[in-house]
Amino acid sequence: MKAFILAVIAAIGLGVVAMYALTSNQKFAYQAFATSGARVSEPGTNLVGEKWNGDPRTNDTSESAHGKATGEPSHPKRS
């Protein structure tokens, strides 16, 4: 019975690891479809929701990371 329990735990463990691996390599559409020529800072959040998961219901009204594209606009460093 012990092996069975161990197996279930291992399965769930591996599943969770897979979840983090997959969600981390997930890219937002505005990142996947922006080439080196573009810097997207305001991709917009209508239709896809604040968290860009397509679910517009948001539980918090705070400035969501996905309202603004990740990555700071460049600071001017002139030669």
Binding site: Q26, A29, Y30, A34, P43, L47, P56
Partner: protein, 198 residues
């Protein structure tokens, strides 16, 4: 009741992308979600034609059929809409859609692509008409305001026709008769299983 269809007259379409940006403007569609796009065939050679393509709101819509959670519904005037609350973002509708209409907020793996978004023929979704919730999930609802999709209304050369199927087919047929040529109603055989007899 009208049977809403799209018809892109490729002999007038100049790939100016007005339909694309009109849709982006009207529904504040975010970067990366392309409800409508223009594809240019035989690019760069005589006979080149451009076609503006989004969801064709098919008869017996493949997307609605294959959806594992049946989140699609067809309105009285045959507009194929869906509910983002039920959608699980599995992407089957994209494999079934002959026109590549469904779009997903996240790209990369099948796991969490987010809820599918697609052209709603400017007719919103299951939320109450012209409500805030409808706008935030499905965009504006022009049909509820007695209008037509903005992509067709703003098409620069009036190539993209939207409205009742018979009416736009008649308009297109008259045009072809008057000008003597026509590359046909693109996608109609696949979408509506019938086409405009030229």
């Amino acid at each position: 009741m009208a049977r809403m269809k799209f018809l892109c007259d490729a002999d007038r379409c100049i790939e100016c992308n007005a339909c694309v940006t009109a849709c982006k403007n009207e529904h504040e569609v975010p970067w990366g979600i392309n409800r409508r796009r223009v594809v240019t065939l035989n690019d760069g050679k005589p006979g080149e034609r451009s076609v503006s393509m989004a969801c064709m709101h098919c008869t017996d819509a493949p997307c609605a059929a294959v959806c594992p959670v049946n989140c699609f519904y067809t309105t009285a005037d045959a507009v194929v809409l869906h509910s983002k609350d039920i959608c699980i973002g599995c992407g089957y509708c994209f494999y079934a859609c002959p026109f590549g209409a469904p779009q997903y907020p996240r790209v990369g793996n099948f796991g969490s692509r987010g809820k599918m978004d697609k052209c709603t023929y400017c007719s919103g979704g299951p939320e109450p008409d012209l409500s805030v919730a409808e706008y935030e999930k499905y965009g504006s609802n022009r049909l509820a305001e007695g209008k037509l999709p903005l992509c067709a209304e703003m098409c620069s050369t009036k190539a993209l026709l939207a409205g009742d199927g018979e009416m736009i087919a008649e308009i297109y047929k008259q045009r072809v008769i008057k000008r003597g040529y026509g590359s046909g109603a693109w996608g109609w055989k696949t979408a509506y299983r019938e086409t405009v007899a030229l």
